[in-house]
Symmetry: C2
Subunit: 342 residues, 2 copies
DNA sequence: GTGCTATTGGGGAACGGTTCCCAATCGTGA
DNA sequence: TCACGATTGGGAACCGTTCCCCAATAGCAC
């Protein structure tokens, strides 16, 4: 490896010398710790500005905090995650904490494990894990090491905080809406990740779909394609569903991304939306509202969820240990992709 | 702050004791450094496995490497970035390096600076900066600290590597395509970030649009909306363009995201695509191919660009200091969103 | 003046790795 | 047998911070 002639960093020692004080004093000023006079504070701050000092994060990590929040996302392709991250960023912006994101790979347990280890090893002060697919035990183990907020799982734990929307209400809204429009052959696209632990949101959405169908005497029309919540998954799932006989008149995709794929499959089959087939999604990511897509979807306010997750993490870092569960009530946003059946 | 009763970490000292060797030896094994026998290597590896040791990243960062690659993205909402990251992840997967992503905020210089500082402070071994909007001097300064690969800028530098597509060819392809279809009133949506430094890709695309229009004697029909490459930007830009008199018959949006927004605006104006207005984008992110969107776009193989960026970074970390410039030749993908004018 | 507490500042030991440098051993050719 | 270079292993300094202490001083009630 070449040794780059990187100009030596300005360290806390340089600042201390320049301000004619001890490194301890500088450290105290930096951390707003107790035991420094106003005069000292001013003198040190001046030296910091003058030298352009920035704390060395790795050195901090050796002893204390890193002022870093780790975010685990299944992947960054899902536009709904962008809404969540916007909320998180907003909440953290004034706090001095920096969010770093890592892709967990979602459906591959080994990749997911590697990603979560990477954050723990990097000594982040808190972790925000979006839609973890691993076992609960692994979450609890991690929570023992690092403050943890989980988004989108329904199992309760005393060790970490949960942010979620009420997927049962959300799925109910969609299915009831389609039934009210007159549909009977309503199909569903779900995500098959890891045998559908009942705590995963995709399980709840699927189970609720089945329940509501049954409650309306439509049990015989239950029709599920278990692929994934991605665009490819939605596409494959919809192709599979449309090939069944009789063909469904409505498709409830478990996510907006899957709904995009489903829309593509419907168009490709030379069918129209909503003329021949109605399509509904879930998440109401910002794109779904665009006029040429106009997808009926369930809104769950990703921005608020991200913002809340940020707040909960800061609280936990600040010392709270009691677990908090924050639930958002979803609403249905009706757009042009759903209509009465042909 | 509560002190969590985290079980003390397994350190390199524990491993050394367990294997009855020095910490130096363990360190050498970990880094595949010179000066350890095969027997030593085996003994140490056994101890590592037995104790479940994982290197403490922060401690490494103090003297050695962090095995971390920092990625700066304007924001994660752009689906094209997901293609890039997929390529990068693939390239890094076998290398032992972990990518961490930070949002730079794109259009806000202060936020961008803060994000890039955050990565430097966290002592990443290399930085992959997608579409930086800052001054070149800032890039060169950073390159002095940390190996750097920049994506999507056309200014040359001897200090960092560049990965880009030939935006001149790409823009040419689109405009020529629209002209060949018979369009004359072709409008363009660009990104106004920071006074259009000529090195930014949006400047090249816009300038090329003007050049090709002029070359075909269509200078009088040049019509540009300078908003942003986001969906909102495309929406606002298209509304602005459609309100002009005479109305354009084709819109060349500088990015797919902007094209999505433009599509929405066209639909909202009760015009059809491509009947009344043709729309073309740039990037050919995976979604644009979906049948119900079917956007004509310029393909620039984001996966390959991400993969290459990863390789270049690893090379630079390995010691290369000569600057490399990797350019992708884009191709036009014609879909249903473009057709002859009414 | 004395004893006490509150406030302010600093000394120095960690933290967990890496790396410089030196010592011991071994093999080999003269 | 000896000199010498190559190989292997380890001791100890060092990276930049934080934090546990202790010291000095000031203020105050008696």
């Amino acid at each position: 490896m070449v040794t780059r002639d990187r100009q030596r960093r300005v360290t806390i020692t340089d600042v201390a010398q320049h301000a004619q004080v001890s490194t301890t004093a500088v450290s105290k000023v930096l951390r707003n710790a107790y035991g420094v006079s106003e005069a000292m504070r001013a003198k040190v701050r001046a030296a910091i500005d003058e030298l352009g000092y920035r704390p060395h994060n790795a050195a901090r990590a050796m002893r204390g905090r890193t002022f870093t929040i780790g975010v685990l996302l299944p992947h960054i392709r899902n536009p709904f995650f962008a809404d969540i991250i916007d909320g998180l960023t907003e909440e953290l912006s004034a706090s001095g904490y920096q969010a770093i994101m890592v892709q967990s790979g979602g459906r591959d347990p080994v990749a997911e494990r590697r990603a979560s280890d990477a954050l723990v090893d990097r000594q982040v002060d808190g972790i925000f894990w979006v839609a973890p697919a691993c076992a609960r035990a692994q979450l609890e183990q991690m929570a023992g090491d690092t403050p943890l907020v989980v988004l989108g799982r329904h199992d309760r734990s005393a060790l970490y905080d949960c942010v979620l929307d009420d997927d049962e209400i959300g799925a109910e809204l969609v299915v009831e809406h389609l039934i009210a429009l007159g549909h009977r052959r309503i199909a569903h696209i779900t995500d098959s990740t890891r045998g559908r632990s009942t705590a995963l949101l995709q399980s709840i959405r699927a189970t609720t779909y089945e329940r509501v169908m049954t409650e309306h005497g439509l049990a015989e029309h239950i029709s599920i394609a278990a692929t994934s919540y991605s665009e490819e998954g939605g596409y494959e799932g919809a192709r599979e569903l449309l090939a069944r006989d009789p063909r469904p008149t409505a498709i409830f995709a478990g996510s907006d991304q899957a709904a995009f794929g489903a829309l593509a499959a419907v168009h490709e089959a030379n069918l129209t939306v909503p003329g021949d087939v109605s399509v509904a999604g879930y998440d109401n990511a910002r794109v779904t509202g665009l006029a040429h897509i106009a997808l009926t979807s369930v809104d769950q306010d990703g921005g608020l969820m991200g913002k809340t997750a940020g707040r909960l993490l800061l609280e936990r870092i600040g010392g709270r240990s009691a677990a908090v569960r924050f639930s958002v009530t979803p609403t249905l946003v009706t757009r042009r992709s759903t209509a009465p059946p042909p």
